[in-house]
């Protein structure tokens, strides 16, 4: 029998004597999966810190470690039974509570979070799944001055585009569009190719009659029910490139399990009548990466349109809300003509874990941070305030927080968010398990 994904698995007890074993497996496994030495060591140290933390807080508990190559990354996934709120030190804001003169017992966890290119915590009953991710190193491209030319011959979308064509198109997107509208992956075209190869990102690529790239559009599935797209990026005048790319995307996703299609980064080239405008979000510090665009996008006050379309008929459902969120939701659903039974939830906090854990997706080059709850604890108000303080200190000017209204415990966090200076800005229909609400700070 052949091993399909070439992953390496290990089951062990959370005890200090196994730290060396974990170090060896992760370091050598990551190297075998192609991570360069520096990256492999960072993942090794993060895994070591995590096991060390578990040995102290949940001694003897069974830990399943799986190391998996992801094409453009290597993932180390830990599964164990534990109190999830023990993981609070993975919060971005935890550094204020940890360090010399303060608590040291969570320092390892803090380091593990910081040494990873990404981490994710999810709960499956009482089992915590904690995934640390380390990306391969890729060469980055920078924008070059460029001007769109007329399309030569008929523009068409190609099946299964060549890697070299994808690389070229990514670089062209960087050249043609302001940085804040470009999928961050395009800045490292090699990574974009491997993400496409792994199916972590789908690419629609248009060429003109000469075979030269005419346009590009990408999408991914941030959840089972949703598709997020970037683009369309158009490099030629004429040829109906944007419409062809969009139609290609609709055909590709229309019969999948996705229910909603969203813009993650919508360019002005898209066909407006294909979408519903959900709202606009301010960008933190647009244009910091690469050259300042000529269209004024590098100035203050730039907002990003958030667009969507349903892929199926909406037959309504129930969502949870905190009382503070209800008026906003009622107005938003009415405007979107979305039928929802809105049910209120307001945790008094009695049955909550002690500490909260929030995930964070950071775009430092744009100054945007997007938070989402993984664990909501009794310290939610404080955790929200700590995150805002930390992110503001680090220069993030747009701090977003997303709640999935399928979960009462997430909806209940709206109270803490409002008290912490957040305001709801838009509803993303079916973006998570149910609709998501996006809050903006300030």
């Amino acid at each position: 029998m052949q091993v399909r994904d070439h992953s390496v698995s290990l089951r062990l007890a959370a005890e200090a004597r196994f730290i060396l074993l974990v170090q060896g497996v992760v370091e050598q496994g990551a190297a075998a999966f192609g991570l360069d030495r520096g990256k492999a060591l960072r993942l090794t140290m993060a895994a070591e810190e995590l096991l060390s933390h578990l040995a102290e807080t949940s001694a003897g508990v069974a830990v399943d470690l799986t190391l998996t190559p992801g094409g453009w990354c290597v993932r180390a996934d830990f599964s164990f039974v534990a109190d999830p709120s023990d993981l609070w030190a993975m919060n971005l804001a935890a550094r204020e509570d940890i360090g010399p003169g303060r608590s040291m017992d969570r320092l390892g966890l803090l380091l593990a979070a910081r040494m990873s290119d990404g981490f994710e915590i999810r709960l499956d009953g009482r089992v915590v799944h904690l995934e640390l991710r380390q990306d391969h190193a890729y060469e980055a491209v920078t924008p070059r001055p460029v001007r769109a030319a007329d399309a030569r011959g008929e523009v068409r979308v190609v099946d299964d585009p060549e890697p070299a064509l994808i690389r070229e198109a990514c670089a062209l997107a960087v050249d043609h569009y302001p940085a804040h509208l470009v999928n961050e992956t395009f800045f490292t075209p090699g990574k974009a190719v491997q993400m496409a190869d792994r199916g972590d990102m789908t690419v629609a690529l248009a060429v003109d009659g000469t075979g030269a790239p005419a346009g590009l559009m990408t999408w991914r599935s941030p959840s089972e029910r949703s598709v997020g797209f970037c683009g369309p990026y158009v490099f030629v005048r004429g040829g109906g490139t944007a419409g062809k790319l969009e139609e290609w995307m609709f055909a590709a996703v229309a019969r999948t399990r996705a229910v909603s299609l969203f813009s993650e980064l919508a360019t002005a080239d898209l066909t407006a009548e294909n979408y519903e405008l959900l709202g606009r979000l301010p960008l933190g510090r647009p244009g910091l990466r690469g050259a300042m665009p000529a269209d004024g996008a590098g100035q203050e006050g730039v907002e990003l349109d958030i667009l969507f379309r349903h892929l199926r008929e909406d037959s309504g459902r129930a969502v949870w809300t905190h009382p503070a969120l209800r008026p906003f939701l009622e107005a938003a659903y009415d405007q979107l003509v979305l039928m929802r039974d809105i049910r209120e939830v307001d945790h008094a906090g009695a049955d909550l874990p002690e500490r909260s854990v929030f995930s964070a997706r950071l775009r430092p080059e744009l100054g945007i941070a997007t938070l989402a709850p993984m664990v909501a604890g009794r310290d939610a108000d404080q955790a929200v305030a700590d995150h805002v303080r930390t992110l503001t200190h680090d220069g993030y000017r747009s701090i977003l927080f997303r709640l999935d209204l399928a979960h009462g415990w997430q909806a209940a966090l709206a109270g803490s968010l409002v008290r912490g200076g957040f305001a709801p800005r838009l509803v993303l229909p079916d973006a998570g398990k149910s609709d998501m609400v996006v809050f903006l700070h300030g």
Partner: protein, 372 residues
């Protein structure tokens, strides 16, 4: 107890398949959308209701019969169909709607590594059943909104077992005329089974429209699908059937679920065939008048539409079809969104009685006026 390892137990092609989720019951939709009525224009049902003989069959259905299993292979109904079409009863196979006979045909002819060929923008069930059975569906783009015979033939290889031709096509209403169908069948030359889905057969009143029941006598690889759901308004009872050569049907029968069609459905289907000419004529008139009512409105509004055969038409709206659906639902009108048929921003509308069409027109105009 150990966790159930569905990743190991369930084949990959099933795990990756998205199950179809039918819409909520009307009463629930009406409550959510805050309307006191709902015109169903989404499923191409015959709004005239079933023929009079069917009503009588329903009203006289004895309750004592419900304790007895139905006839497992629809004996009486098959004989009625045989009498109607002048064929041996063994050449008919009845299923719980056409979806079941589609599944039976694919099970009968396709194994691992085989493929089917059909259009990319047609009735989705051919593709769905193939994919969840682990069979590759080769989808050929429509040409001028119609099935492309050349494209389908070119897509065939030695592993192609079935070609599905929806004639007329749902949702574009286009059809292959007799010459096109003949040429296609000649070129297939018995290398694969050709399913001609004639779900909307009774709605077509064209001289050059080919009758699959006749074609199969010259082409033993032809299977014809028909249904009692569309013209005869028995959608709730789920009765579809196929007809083919005795040898082909014998193979399909081996994979088919018996007892899947209940007794009331069998009796009503039989009744529907009795003296159906006046009912079919009345339905065709209703559909023609509805088409003549809607098309001028779309023309006046400058909207692109496709109104061909069948009891439906499609119109392209200047917004996502799914948004149009929600706005029309708030007006008590339910249409079919077409993104899933790979016609983004198009809606499909069933053609029904005049007063309902008037309601649709008013609601449609109101929604677009608001949008403008």
């Amino acid at each position: 107890m150990a966790d159930l390892d569905l990743r190991r137990l369930v084949p990959a092609h099933v795990r990756s398949f998205e199950s179809y989720r039918p819409s909520n019951p009307d009463r629930e939709l009406m409550r959510l959308y805050g309307v006191d009525h709902l015109h169903r224009l989404n499923n191409n049902e015959n709004a005239l209701g079933p023929p009079p003989a069917v009503r009588e069959a329903v009203e006289s259905f004895p309750s004592g019969v419900v304790t007895v299993y139905p006839n497992g292979d629809c004996f009486d109904l098959r004989h009625s169909l045989a009498g109607r079409f002048g064929k041996d009863p063994e050449r008919f196979l009845v299923g719980n709607g056409s979806c079941e006979v589609i599944a039976s045909v694919i099970k009968a002819f396709c194994g691992e590594g085989d493929n089917i060929v059909t259009a990319d923008r047609t009735f989705a069930v051919y593709e769905w059943v193939a994919e969840f059975s682990g069979i590759k569906a080769r989808l050929i783009p429509l040409r001028d909104m119609a099935f492309d015979p050349r494209g389908m033939l070119d897509a065939m290889d030695e592993r192609t077992k079935i070609l599905f031709v929806c004639n007329p096509n749902n949702p574009t209403g286009t059809y292959w005329d007799r010459a096109t169908m003949d040429a296609f069948l000649d070129e297939v030359d018995g290398r694969a089974v050709v399913v001609i889905d004639e779900a909307y057969f009774e709605y077509v009143d064209r001289e050059d429209y080919p009758d699959g029941m006749a074609l199969m006598e010259r082409h033993p690889n032809v299977i014809v699908f028909r249904t009692f759901s569309k013209m005869y308004a028995l959608a709730a009872l789920r009765v579809g059937y196929l007809c083919g050569s005795a040898a082909v049907v014998d193979m399909v029968r081996r994979t088919h679920v018996v007892y899947s069609v209940n007794t009331l459905a069998q009796r009503c289907a039989e009744a529907a065939l009795r003296d159906d000419a006046p009912f079919i004529a009345a339905t065709r008139t209703m559909v023609r008048e509805a088409r003549e009512r809607l098309c001028p409105m779309f023309d006046a509004m400058g909207l692109e539409y496709i109104a061909n055969e069948g009891n439906y038409l499609m119109v392209r709206v200047p917004m996502p079809d799914t948004l149009m659906y929600r706005k029309l639902m708030r007006e008590g009108i339910m249409v079919r969104t077409m993104t899933g048929f790979r016609f983004p921003n198009w809606i499909r509308v069933s053609l029904v009685q005049g007063p309902v069409m008037e309601d649709f027109c008013r609601a449609f105009r109101r929604v677009l006026d608001k949008t403008a």
